[in-house]
């Protein structure tokens, strides 16, 4: 009798405990801070797609769009932390210092900062995607499809993320076509349809017949469509904006990561991490390949995609030379993450200088 009582008492305790855990789990609320409007069809749009995946997984979410990286970011973060959100995703580099500052004040709230490097407190994680892997695919396609051997590239800001993309793209294009040149126009913006279209036009006027971009709007693919040249979608599948021009897109797929992290908060298993996922983990997704591409190119790209995912192929495999001909990565070696994170030199074959 005694034992039975104890046993039932213990089991009811366990039941009660698991019920509370379940109740807590359901109540986890996630917040997202966006730099642009959710309708940009680029960077912010894809983060919002990720947020919707979190909603679909049964969690409540809140978002604030168009939060400038000025003094305002800190207030928005504090307000979100103060209003019952358990995990806050800050989706632009410029939120790095405010994120760490507010994280210090709210040790019980988890913070996830995209594309930054500062994790000053145990409740701050960082995450980013290996977009350069996607650019290896784009470079392969561009190098094959170009007839003028001039490839245009609209870049945003001269930071390692963008330089890395240009290099990865150029290396892949050179591999299939040693004669190509990559011409860069710096738009000095992440999102400005007018400027981006102008940059694309300038490149087309210089003879580029394939345009790649590291800015977020659909203006470039639309300009390419008008001019009758090829282009690639950025961040989201931009095929519907320029069906003839867009050969494929590199999609940012944040959903799985977001669901994973919010679930970890719910289960109490969240811990600080620095995540840098690529094609293999599904954070970088290649959209459907356009039927204008020859069948053998399409199968080559499919294979490359699988090899990048498995790690058999690395985007930065030596020998790699810089513009002056100095060896950057020796034959048979691959660039390590430290080198990739601070990459500020062009590889051979890129035209022009990095703006200083």
């Amino acid at each position: 009798m005694h034992k039975f009582l104890i046993r039932s008492f213990v089991s009811s305790l366990v039941l009660l405990f698991s019920l509370t855990v379940a109740a807590v789990a359901k109540d986890v609320k996630a917040a997202f801070v966006y730099i642009g409007p959710t309708g940009d069809h680029g960077w912010t749009y894809q983060h919002d797609v990720g947020r919707k995946a979190v909603e679909a997984a049964g969690f409540k979410t809140t978002y604030v769009e168009g939060v400038p990286e000025s003094a305002d970011a800190e207030r928005v973060l504090r307000q979100l932390a103060n209003s019952g959100h358990d995990v806050i995703f800050t989706t632009s580099f410029g939120y790095m210092n405010p994120t760490n500052k507010v994280a210090k004040e709210f040790p019980n709230v988890k913070f996830e900062h995209a594309t930054g490097y500062k994790r000053e407190h145990p409740n701050v994680s960082t995450y980013a995607a290996r977009f350069y892997e996607g650019r290896t695919i784009l470079g392969t396609i561009a190098g094959t499809m170009t007839k003028s051997n001039v490839i245009g590239y609209v870049a945003s800001f001269p930071i390692p993320e963008v330089i890395r993309g240009i290099n990865s793209f150029t290396l892949a294009a050179q591999k299939v076509n040693p004669n190509i040149k990559t011409k860069i126009v710096w738009a000095f913006t992440w999102y400005d349809p007018g400027k981006e279209a102008e940059a694309a036009k300038a490149l087309i006027d210089q003879g580029a017949d394939v345009i790649a971009q590291h800015t977020d709007s659909t203006a470039i693919v639309q300009m390419a469509e008008k001019a009758g040249v090829y282009a690639f979608g950025q961040a989201s599948n931009m095929d519907k904006f320029a069906p003839k021009a867009v050969l494929t897109s590199v999609e940012n797929n944040w959903g799985p990561y977001y669901v994973d992290r919010v679930k970890a908060v719910a289960n109490g298993t969240w811990s600080q991490k620095d995540t840098w996922h690529g094609i293999g983990d599904g954070m970088v997704v290649i959209s459907d390949l356009d039927s204008q591409m020859p069948a053998d190119l399409r199968s080559k790209v499919k294979k490359l995609q699988a090899d990048l995912a498995s790690g058999k192929v690395h985007s930065f495999t030596g020998p790699i030379y810089d513009q002056k001909g100095n060896l950057m990565v020796a034959e048979g070696k691959t660039a390590d993450d430290g080198m990739l994170a601070g990459m500020m030199t062009y590889v051979k074959g890129v035209e022009g200088d990095i703006p200083k």
Partner: protein, 354 residues
């Protein structure tokens, strides 16, 4: 029957009444927009205008937000009162921030009581230098100051971009576009523990007092007023127009530069690409809503500041798109300009008793 009659003289009572009317009409129209979008209008307005400042922290954020707006608007009122259309305060803010940020970086990891005054002064000088460009071009080459000052805004942002990406970027910052953090001696002291409101608010209040004194108690203020009413009269009276034009631009630039200093040595603590959410442009609305009167500008800066905070709160709690904040700012200006009609015309209700 309603009849519209031209007034013999602009009504002074209406002059101070129309801003209030404009705010009221904005609230009504805003409520209507919320209703059409499918939100409960009163609840939305509550989250927009009351919830954000309902506690001590919220109120301190309001003051923090209003400080640069008030400071810039005071400076602009010197220009606008005297018929000088400086709309490049955003550029003067940016350039002031660049100069003061550069000085703050020179004192990296150094401490000393003398650093902050130098940093502040550098910001004011930077703003003045930048404002002197449209002023000099206007006085000596007859260029249009609206165009020049506006275009210089974009130039200043490109200079800032160049500096934070290149020579001034943080050597330990993986080439990201930002400078190092300023040392504590180069930062404005906080007024209360745990709140972001900083000593910059005293700069704004000082500007209010000084501008009131200049406008209403000095010969310069009188000259500005006359030039504002009629440039020809001013010339006829023998005022030295060129000197005055340059002076009001310098004052305006200094104020905008100080607003930039307040941002970077206050809540931001470093230079990066985005130091101001277009305070320099929003301050134009503030200046007009405040009727170019120092006290009016204080109230106007608080009203406009709350549209920023309210937009965030409304999105967090009611999922109202944050960009409605800008819609509100636009509506305030629109209704203000529209109701200025009442300054010059009056509406007469004529009874149909016969």
């Amino acid at each position: 029957m309603i009849k519209i009659v031209k007034r013999d003289q602009p009504s002074r009572a209406i002059f101070f009444f129309t801003p209030v009317l404009a705010i009221f009409l904005t609230l009504v129209a805003g409520g209507l927009i919320f209703f059409i979008l499918g939100f409960k209008p009163f609840e939305a307005l509550k989250f927009f205008f009351i919830v954000p400042i309902a506690d001590k922290y919220g109120f301190s954020e309001l003051l923090l937000k209003a400080t640069p707006l008030c400071l810039i608007a005071i400076g602009l009122s010197f220009c606008f009162k005297s018929n000088n259309w400086n709309i490049g305060a955003e550029g003067q803010l940016t350039f002031g921030a660049i100069v003061s940020g550069g000085v703050a970086l020179l004192f990296y990891e150094q401490e000393g009581f003398y650093i902050l005054p130098i940093v502040i002064l550098a910001g004011a000088i930077g703003g003045m230098l930048y404002a002197s460009i449209p002023a000099i071009l206007k006085t000596y080459f007859n260029t249009n100051e609206i165009l020049v000052s506006l275009m210089l805004v974009y130039v200043s942002k490109l200079i800032l971009d160049y500096l934070v990406v290149g020579p001034w970027s943080n050597p330990e910052g993986f080439n990201f576009p930002e400078t190092r953090q300023f040392s504590d001696s180069a930062k404005l002291p906080l007024l209360f523990e745990g709140l972001r409101i900083h000593a910059g608010i005293f700069l704004a209040l000082a500007a209010v007092v000084i501008s009131w004194f200049v406008f209403y108690k000095t010969y310069l203020g009188f000259q500005m007023k006359v030039s504002g009413f009629s440039l020809k009269t001013a010339r006829y009276a023998g005022y030295k127009g060129k000197k005055m034009i340059i002076l009001v631009f310098l004052i305006s630039g200094a104020c905008a530069g100080l607003a930039g200093v307040g941002e970077i040595t206050g809540p931001i603590g470093q230079l990066h690409r985005e130091i101001s959410p277009d305070y320099g442009f929003t301050a134009i609305i503030v200046a007009f809503l405040g009727r170019l009167h120092p006290v009016g500008i204080i109230f106007a800066s608080l009203v406009v500041a709350i549209t920023y905070l309210g937009a965030e709160t409304a999105q967090i709690f009611m999922q109202i798109p944050k960009y409605t904040g800008q819609v509100f700012q636009g509506m305030i200006l629109f209704f203000l300009l529209a109701s200025d009609y009442l300054l010059f015309f009056k509406i007469k209700f004529i009874g149909s008793k016969k």
